[in-house]
Subunit: 216 residues, 4 copies
């Protein structure tokens, strides 16, 4: 009986962590649009001015996808995580502090197309976010021991392996950004379909496992 | 027993998709007001300055209703959707990227009354949003096969048919906006009551069906 | 059995209405702070500049309390509302469109102290909000018939009576605001404790009734 | 039977209080980034301009941690609180009005490094927030009598004792801020690890108690 009560308390506690996290993710996604200001121009010149904003539209779409990906990973982790502790909550805030920061490098990127400094800032910010996301997963599935008991070992190993790809990719893109910003943009845009495909390929192998993670 | 556990996992998973989506909808609705800046004028001239903002008040109300409608459709779909998968989650993000974008064309519309470019941008943005909303429904009720088994076929057919009306209306309003912005405004404002009435009429026919969707 | 399923569907449906509404309330509350800009001054003159912002601090606190009150009434209504329908959802959006609008008159009020136009705008905006909140309650407890069956009649009558006080008070404050803005400010500030006290007094009478609403 | 219904109603009611609070916390956390504006400079000078923003990055991180801490305390309290009443709801709004205010002193602090006025404003704002957080806990665990019956007395005593440390620390830092802003910054940054350590130390003593609060 005390067991069950503990479980319920853990469930409620995780519920609030998710509510706060979903709030921060949703707001970070939605604040991105504030980086695109209405052109202060005449009605006649408005069409061209709106088209000239294309680097900002791209920056908006890129960061929306980046934050969406981080949400997907977070969502996927919490299909397995069934307990929380102090360290997990702080690792969650570490992730959220970087998620909530992303609108700023996005705005800089949209306003300073072709700037090495803007590209380095962006690569560094996403790198730190993905590193904290990976640390989160490694802790929860390792020392923290917070996953559901029936989580498949192969699945956990695969998630841990995949979680390293983001930090590695964005760490490598930092020097690229410093010398060839446009190449870095291409890397970021291409990285998503690649990661997506590898993911689909992985889960195609083990679709029936209980607690499996078919969504992201 | 494993069956039920899967169901519960699916329910929790959909719960987070809804939490994130409701967050983005709520923030997009609320950010619209940031497009209306306080007039920088003397107290004596403030009254007239506030009245002169009427195009922005209209743009605010129009976009609030537009986003509210998309939320209603989303809400209505999730009375029938009981499972999720990777494609659904990405289609959801596709919808949200357009929802979160809408405050920008709204601000442009409020600041550039009578501009063809502003009206075209607005029509295009709402068109893309409604197209992604329709794609969402068609996927979930078709190839995705994610609806509850007892969902009525007639109801699904009607929802799919109706979901096409938004994209068609706003696609048609793009050329109108290019040549006669004020006519386009009128079309958008009139479109809502019409769609609303047809909706009420439809559900008046089958009020007792379980899983029916009486609310939007 | 089909009965219960309907009830659950209704519960989920209301759950999403509340999630969206709570999101809009929370964001409207939090956006109020964006109306207070950092003074662009030297460090030496900063202290005085921060003190000179007092009308904005007051406007922030006033609107925070006003929105908090509307949330309390909403919260209180949904202790009794157990079903939703299309009209209720649209009345909810009518309320939310005014709630999400309130940061704008608040900003105008904070920037234009002593202006009759700013005070009239504020009184009108709160008046429309409270009128839509009252319409909401009257519909749900009247024609809509959406309350739980065991809701006490005396309680409903009292809620309906009280819900009229807000619209009346703010409607009356519109002409006051037009001629004596400072008197209007005083009325708004004093109105809250008075309404609060009458509320406490009312519920002190019938504390044990099931479905009673002890919190706001 | 009426007992259980009351309990359920109480649970739903607390659920909405938490939803609104989590929304305000999440938005306050995420709005902090709006205080960092994109430097209006050439691409060549952007790198240096971004580095020169370091006081704003620090202010962002500091306030993120401060708000995160207040959320943790709130979260921890609601593991024990199982009933609500009117006073609790208003104390919750009192806390939220200060939480939602924090982005402003953060922006002032980031824009006016080394200013005594900015540091005093910040210390005062956090002091008021922590005082209202402490009042909240004292009320819920004292006169309000809103905690779960099995909450450990030693645990409550410890929480109440700890809740005083924040107000005392920030009240003491007000005069420090007035005369030596940089010393105040150091105090705030160091205060967190210290409070954290004392917390961990405390809960290491009684890990098995039901209803214990292992997370913050």
């Amino acid at each position: 009986m005390p067991r069950r009560e503990d479980d319920e308390t853990a469930g409620e506690s995780i519920g609030r962590i998710l509510a706060l996290s979903d709030g921060v993710f949703a707001i970070a996604l939605t604040l991105l649009i504030l980086d695109i200001a209405v052109p202060a121009t005449t009605n006649g010149a408005l069409g061209k001015a709106l088209l000239d904003l294309w680097p900002r539209y791209l920056a908006y779409a890129l960061s929306f996808l980046v934050i969406a990906r981080f949400w997907m990973v977070h969502h996927q982790m919490y299909r397995l995580i069934v307990r929380d502790n102090a360290t997990l909550v702080w690792l969650n805030f570490l992730l959220l502090i970087f998620i909530a920061f992303l609108p700023f490098p996005t705005a800089v990127l949209g306003a300073h197309r072709g700037s090495a400094a803007a590209a380095v800032l962006y690569a560094t910010a996403v790198w730190l976010t993905s590193a904290s996301s990976a640390a989160y997963l490694w802790y929860a599935s390792g020392r923290g021991n917070l996953l559901r008991p029936d989580a498949g070992r192969a699945q956990i190993r695969a998630m841990r392996a995949r979680s390293v790809s983001g930090p590695v990719l964005f760490a490598l893109s930092v020097p690229v950004a410093a010398f060839a910003p446009y190449v870095a943009y291409a890397v970021w845009v291409i990285a998503f379909p690649l990661a997506r495909m590898s993911f689909v390929w992985f889960f195609a192998e083990e679709p029936q496992q209980p607690g499996s993670v078919p969504s992201p």
